[in-house]
């Protein structure tokens, strides 16, 4: 049962840090909280024995992408005064909308048959690197190769977009 407690603690921490991402006024703090959120999510993956994804999540998200965000934020050199905020009414509307979405989702969960189910006692080795590697390089090899093209495109796009052009759209 300790695992259950751990998972509850992890879940609440995840949600708390996610909330802080949204609530904190300064973008830098948001990024930091986001990294923290990703850490917690990664730990949840580990709990579910999805080891490969846990590693990838750690490296790609928490490592690469978040660093990118930080770089950009620092590059733009924003200060707190420049932080744009919505009006209170809009925020309220957003919270109501989000809340009702959440309610609806929970209702949906409640109606499903998986409620209260625990994990089956079976071979839970699918999340291991070996298993996923097998899948990735046999069944999904074409898609995997295609991702490289996607990355090249993204790289080229990013360089082209971020390059300081002389003639910029008026």
């Amino acid at each position: 049962m300790s695992l259950q407690i751990i998972s509850i603690i992890l879940g609440s921490l995840t949600l708390a840090s996610a909330l802080m991402v949204v609530l904190s006024k300064h973008p830098i703090r948001s990024v930091i909280y986001l990294v923290v959120t990703f850490f917690f999510i990664t730990s949840m993956y580990i709990m579910m024995n999805a080891q490969f994804l846990a590693i990838v999540n750690m490296i790609v998200y928490a490592g690469a992408i978040m660093v990118l965000f930080l770089f950009v934020l620092m590059l733009l050199n924003l200060n707190k005064e420049m932080e744009p905020m919505n009006t209170k009414g809009a925020q309220l509307a957003a919270f109501i909308a989000g809340g009702s979405l959440f309610l609806v989702l929970i209702t949906a969960l409640k109606d499903t048959l998986i409620l209260g189910q625990t994990y089956r006692q079976q071979d839970n080795s699918i999340g291991l690197v070996k298993e996923l590697g097998n899948l990735l390089f046999t069944k999904y090899v074409v898609a995997f190769e295609l991702t490289s093209i996607l990355f090249i495109a993204a790289m080229v796009g990013a360089i082209l977009l971020a390059k300081r052009e002389k003639q910029i759209i008026e």
Partner: protein
């Protein structure tokens, strides 16, 4: 490690966390006007979905969903790269990262 894995943890808890994450991401996307934060909120929502996928994947013992998560991460990385460079360019033009300033596409 195998034996210890998530025994006794109910499936719906992870789903609950996933939903909550998604909702937080959505609320953030609606309330915040900073484009970078918006992008972060989108990442949050993506991760919520990833979490759900992994949950089900483990539950059903099917690896395909995890591969799918992997691809989602790939796409998210690419998306973040391009999105951030767009933000940089946009900031150069308007000196602002307020998303509401960028409604010029309308006309």
């Amino acid at each position: 490690m195998q034996a210890a894995s998530s025994i006794g943890t109910s499936l719906d808890f992870f789903l609950f966390v996933s939903f909550a994450l998604f909702t937080i991401g959505a609320i953030g996307a609606m309330t915040r006007k900073n484009m970078i934060v918006l992008l972060m909120c989108i990442e949050l929502m993506l991760n919520a979905v990833n979490l759900m996928l992994v949950t089900f994947s483990t539950y059903y013992g099917n690896g395909d969903a995890q591969i799918f998560v992997f691809f989602t991460m790939v796409v998210a990385a690419a998306e973040a790269t391009v999105g951030l460079s767009i933000i940089i360019m946009a900031y150069r033009n308007l000196k602002s990262i307020d998303i509401d300033m960028y409604n010029q596409l309308k006309n």
